[in-house]
Amino acid sequence: MELQCPMPQLDFEVITLGHGSGGLLTNKLLETGVFDLLKNEYLDQHHDGATFTLQGPLAFSTDSYVVSPIFFPGGNIGELAVNGTVNDLAMCGAIPRYLSLAFILEEGLMMQDFWKILLSIKFAAERAGVQIVTGDTKVVERGKGDKIFINTSGIGTLHPQAQISKSRVQVGDRILISGNIAAHGIAILSLRQGLQFDSEIQSDTVNLNHTVARLLDQFGEKIHLLHDPTRGGVATVLNEMARDTRLGVEIWQKQLPVAEDVYGACELLGLDPLYVANEGIFMAFVAPEVADAALEMLRADENGAEATIIGEVVAAHPKQVILHSSIGGKRVVNMPLGEQLPRIC
């Protein structure tokens, strides 16, 4: 969606080294730009950090966002930076509360682009129901960054019914996935490589915390583990889980939800959707007795229309992930080696 909010009256069009100096220019950028837009009682204090009180067990997470290009179909680096950390907290079973926001800007970044990113950050934070309470801005010389890097850290209170831990994963657990896989990675790759497909493949970046909270409200401790399969994709999450729990995993290729256009793009590029990055989906390892109900609930949710049960945790072949191919064969799904590279033919 295109966010509408006029850019403030500024006497500069691009970010310069002065905007990171801590002096007048920095103040102008922050006062007129960032603080006014993200306004809340904590930022209004203009202090070195935010002070607040939170009750009960907490979750804390941090992540850095260096995506290139910074604008892509379905989103930009700003909302990715908010959604990513919000989702990391949600995967801990937490209700995200406060975020920090740190920018590393490259000299020459267009103020108009920075403004668009800020608007997306504001919208994403509002949608997730989190407040950005502290932050930082640095500017590096042209050529020493890639337009903009963002770090977000977040703190959240644990959902009272949440008992999310790898140690709770058991044989028989069903593995739910909340939506179509591989969209984000293919959206970025197609833009980076200048590839054009029949339809524009959009990133799936979105905040998942409300969906996860509803799931925890209803099924509580029956949800054993949550994970968002970002870099490394679904295959990495499954392998890490199998390795750490010393249990086996079986998944069914027929059940893997992949949108037709994304599937076609993966075929063309020689990429396995199991290894491609996602941003707006999560995997849940749930007790078998609630699996169908949890699936039904997910499918009724705005973020879960394509949800499926893709597999289950087994005692056989510990630490290994086995895929049952759609033609009835079996194969091992390994950890990816590194970035997936397209094949020659």
Partner: protein, 367 residues
Amino acid sequence: MKYISEYRDADLVAQYLEEIRHTVTRPWTIMEVCGGQTHSLVKNGILNLLPPEVQMVHGPGCPVCVTPLNLIDKAVYLAEEKGVILCSYGDMIRVPGSKRSLLESKARGADVRILYSPLEAVKIAQENPDREVVFFAVGFETTAPANALSVIHAQRAGVPNYSILASHVLVPPAIEAVMNDPDSNIQGFLAAGHVCAIMGIDEYYPLVDRYKIPIVVTGFEPVDLVQGILMTVRQLEKGEHYLENQYSRVVKPEGNPEAQKVIQRIFTIADREWRGIGVIPMSGYEVRPEYVAYDANIKFNVNIEKAAESAECIAGLVLKGIKKPQECPQFGRGCTPQMPLGAPMVSSEGACAAYHHFSQAMEEVSA
């Protein structure tokens, strides 16, 4: 995708597998020449579904795997020492040269770019007139038309700073090399469907006659592969040998004449070194003398001493189907996708990597 899903039909695959089981009466060894077919066989778990009498052996059809060490060293040299913008298909950049891979060169600051088409490289050359741009033109007959076309485009557009480092290999001479090896026990071939889509099928008739082996031109989807295997087994069981085309929906007997013309305009057939195998006579393409200005080999006159392959790597035996990847003492131990000794462990088309990724410990799993 409907067109593809029909060739992934589980019922049809099961039906063909049942027919193979009914047909086979004794052991047969069949080679799938193409790395893409190897990849599909293991990715879809087909090898475990075949009766034990049918042994599939993986051929030399991974273009990345058979690109000579010396040529990778040349590409690294051009990127690092000559400062060229070195463009390549993705899976080529991980393959180790004698010192390092192009991926490592990139990390050290060389301008190495991953592309999907050589025409992009011509565009990069147009956008960077003060830099030399080299496309690492690797592949079988399938990628040759696009690579040749890039030279034609560069010439037409007057782009003097573009050239290709050609490493093209051809399938029929590879089949001959496999059959001429005294240790070979291959009794039938699945020929690579997409190569025949370009070149047609005529080149395979003499091979069928000379070596008295069935050759079935086969596609890449599960239904294609099991049907191709069934067609081969039927011939073997009857003691017959002829050329069949399983992939007739794509492969016309005459191939693609337009693509062939483009290839012939730019390339000429020459002896070629295959990594792990050695020189196979008349088994590759090199740039014709009239297009020498676009031949990076000549343009930069790079003379690099030939380095020796790892003594522990049995890639040549794997590529000729004499050994299976897991029969290598280093498989999964001294040689892994993270630390490969040889190219077949690097490329996703490579037999060793395909086995390592998909079939590792499958015996244990199946038990």
